[in-house]
Symmetry: C2
Subunit: 478 residues, 2 copies
């Protein structure tokens, strides 16, 4: 593969052109029925009582809602998966992305290199097929993009599955930076465009690292927008990663939606209070009588009618269990647990670990996530990883050291920091410079354990030939 | 003001640091009661019937919901405005932004320059105070950022009120571009960082325009995130614009939420199905019994319970009328109407114009918005502005001309284009290069009309002294 091809591959995520290109709304639905049953207007009638909401709160198409197989209460996880992927349309670029991932993984599997899939940014839940409104999950992609850089520095090959236009490794230093991108540049004397001397040194360092990752074909970026894009591509890439055996690492830092609108309940057009026919009729009569509630700027009629929008969402089927059991059974799996309430963080992380039986949950709080995280792994108490006290504030001289000192990273205080005790702004050390070496050490143990269990296998163990080959390959490359 | 100060001002929008910094969730609420009444879980009970939804669909705190003054049906628009701004917390940076806008406007008012407020990007509706989830409106900010550039080229001073991290004038050519930002740069022989020759010429053109706008203090960028940020800052800046008289132009291209969660109904923490106390109790007993529905990755328990999330939103009070009548009574006001259904576009635009009595609605369809828009103004039929047929496709040589030919921009076909007839990708000509000169011409007429009506005033007209001074100033500077 030429450098040019590699560069294109490493960066094609930025090149999808339209911000809409991966929206599942551009996909034909496999379900022909388009219904607005999910979106119901309700009037706050003065006589409606809490114990008996007005019947108008839900449309009378609830029967269809209830018969949706996405919601059947008696399904096994495998059935839920099968139903989800058969009922929801695959994103347009799925095959292209899966093929790119496969080529990338095979390249590094052959070299015995570890490969990490980093997911990053928030997934969206479109509320209309031609999407004007959507539910989003807060994430600029900082955790994922920063982690990806440290994985690259630790010799991993990185598949970066990220929300389109969220932060990317390396370019993150400039895309959402303190200055506008153009403020870093000026016109040279000969009509050239050059980086200002003030920023030159850091920009050169970042550019060299980026070019090195491109040259070695160690960074593949794949974009997603919706929860549906994410789930389809995640499944495909996890499947692609099976040949890596224990050398594969899944580092799931994306902020993934818990709820979605099943396709059979999604409306085609921007949600309106009246449909086009009604509007035509009303407008012909007297526009002032029209009850236009969903105006682009401004919604209520001249006299407010107190109309509300009610959005009714189904839970996203649970896929982490499938990931652990089936999609990438030998890889190490790390998930994140973001909470805002410090009192429930560790319990929620522990609970997720108990349920899915994967390898590590990294817990973090919205307000302190750049200063500390907690590692929750099987059979261990929560282990806090913190930016050391003396590195929490950027030094006055602006001498920014990006890599922290891992040995200093663990404090003995076993409770979350109080956000009030933290300085304003960003810590001097990026906490991902402490997280990634710790994850890498656990991954090394994971690989060793796998090798040992392989060695201890009796020679006549009745492994299927392909699985035995995989294990052998894993030992050879680990 | 020094160039340095101007540069900082023109770009401080990029410098707010945390992507969270403007979220209203960081504001103390004026309403002390925090209730989860809006977020109700419902079980799809097999026996629940459409005509009588389960009582659990709504919590029993609906009484509080119904007493919310945001929802009182008998309010005048002025009361709705007063209530909104007294019940919702002002964003942290409101005073700073208003002061910056005032200084900027006074500077240009003194020079007799026209000032346009361009709003751009989508507003968010947070679902929690410590926001993990929010509802968003689809917009990369292309319309607003591109329009702002053409206003600058047409000698306007531009206040760019935009969604944080959405596209900005000039940097838009690189921030969401076909290439990663770092792909435009390479290492020079002397350790410098330079733009690749391939991109140099265009980058130099963009950089010169950007630096010129900065040097002349003609671009002020102000960020927003939530619908609440937007409404507060819009009101403040519109007030600041009154001294401009008819020289002020409001160009409202932002995709503004129609619905929001009133503060008294907003929960503090990430939405959970059980509260922390319940979780503690359950976890101590047996984690497997805990019904954790809102897991960060994956929501449903081992056996799906078909739990749903129901989000109940109030309409955003109508403010366009206030803008027309009170905030900026002499300025010209342009709003946008985005639809997905071509059959209702013009009627909806006409309807908005009839209701608010402002000057221009620019209608556009999601699928064709880069190729055509329709101008709907009082007493005129819809006027289509289109990228000319021979400029709809970028030429093979990649010779990208950004400025179109306005005279060619109007076609006689009076119905929307069929998206199927349009080429893939982007048109060769940016449609904003046709929109802005047309808006500018209307603004010139608006100013002239205002001057004429002032001249025709009898000399003893009983104008309050300050309004007379404003009008006189408007004539002098127009």
């Amino acid at each position: 593969m030429t450098d040019q091809a590699t560069a294109t591959q490493a960066c094609f995520a930025c090149g999808t052109g339209s911000p809409n290109s991966l929206l599942s709304t551009s996909q034909p639905s496999k379900s022909p029925s388009v219904s607005s049953s999910t979106f119901s207007l309700s009037f706050k009638l003065p006589d409606s009582r809490p114990s008996s909401p007005s019947p108008s709160v839900f449309s009378n198409s609830s029967d269809r809602t209830m018969s949706s197989s996405s919601s059947r209460p008696d399904r096994t996880p495998a059935e839920a998966e099968r139903d989800y992927f058969s009922e929801n349309p695959a994103p347009a670029n799925l095959e292209k992305y899966a093929a790119q991932a496969k080529e990338f993984i095979d390249f590094h599997a052959a070299a015995g290199r570890r490969v990490v899939l980093v997911t990053s940014g928030g997934t969206t839940v479109p509320l209309e097929r031609q999407t004007v409104r959507f539910i989003d999950n807060f994430s600029a992609g900082t955790r994922g993009a920063t982690s990806a850089e440290y994985f690259l520095e630790n010799d991993y090959a990185v598949i970066f599955l990220h929300r389109q236009f969220s932060l990317l490794p390396y370019s993150r230093h400039y895309s959402h930076a303190t200055n506008c991108f153009l403020d870093f540049l000026s016109e040279g004397s000969d009509g050239s465009v050059i980086a200002n001397e003030e920023y030159r040194e850091k920009m050169l360092t970042v550019l060299r690292k980026y070019n090195s990752a491109k040259k070695e074909n160690r960074l593949l970026t794949l974009p997603f927008t919706t929860i549906n894009d994410y789930l389809f591509v995640l499944r495909a890439v996890a499947h692609d990663m099976r040949p890596l055996g224990p050398n594969g690492l899944l580092y799931l830092a994306a902020a993934v939606s818990d709820f979605f609108v099943p396709p059979e309940r999604m409306v085609e057009h921007k949600i309106q209070s009246t449909n086009a026919t009604d509007l035509n009729r009303t407008a012909a009569k007297d526009p002032a009588d029209d009850e236009e509630v969903f105006d682009n700027f401004d919604s209520s009629p001249a006299v407010p009618r107190n109309k509300r929008l009610i959005i009714d969402l189904d839970p996203v089927p649970k896929f982490l269990k499938n990931l652990v059991d089936g999609w990438a059974p030998e890889g190490m799996i790390v998930s994140f647990k973001l909470e805002t309430d410090p009192h429930i963080l560790i319990q929620k992380a522990q609970y997720s670990l108990d349920r899915y039986q994967h390898h590590l949950v990294i817990g973090n709080l919205l307000s302190t996530r750049k200063w500390e995280v907690v590692f929750v792994a099987p059979g261990q108490p929560g282990r806090w990883i913190r930016v050391p006290r003396n590195r929490r504030k950027k030094s006055i001289g602006g001498n920014e050291r990006l890599v922290g000192v891992a040995a200093e990273g663990t404090e003995t205080i076993e409770r979350p920091l109080d956000p009030k005790d933290l300085p304003d702004g960003e810590p001097e050390v990026e906490i991902e410079s402490l997280i990634i070496p710790a994850v890498e050490a656990m991954h090394t143990s994971h690989i060793k354990k796998n090798q040992e269990s392989l060695k201890s296998l009796p020679r006549d163990a009745s492994l299927p030939p392909d699985q035995a080959a995989l294990l052998q390959e894993a030992v050879a490359s680990g």
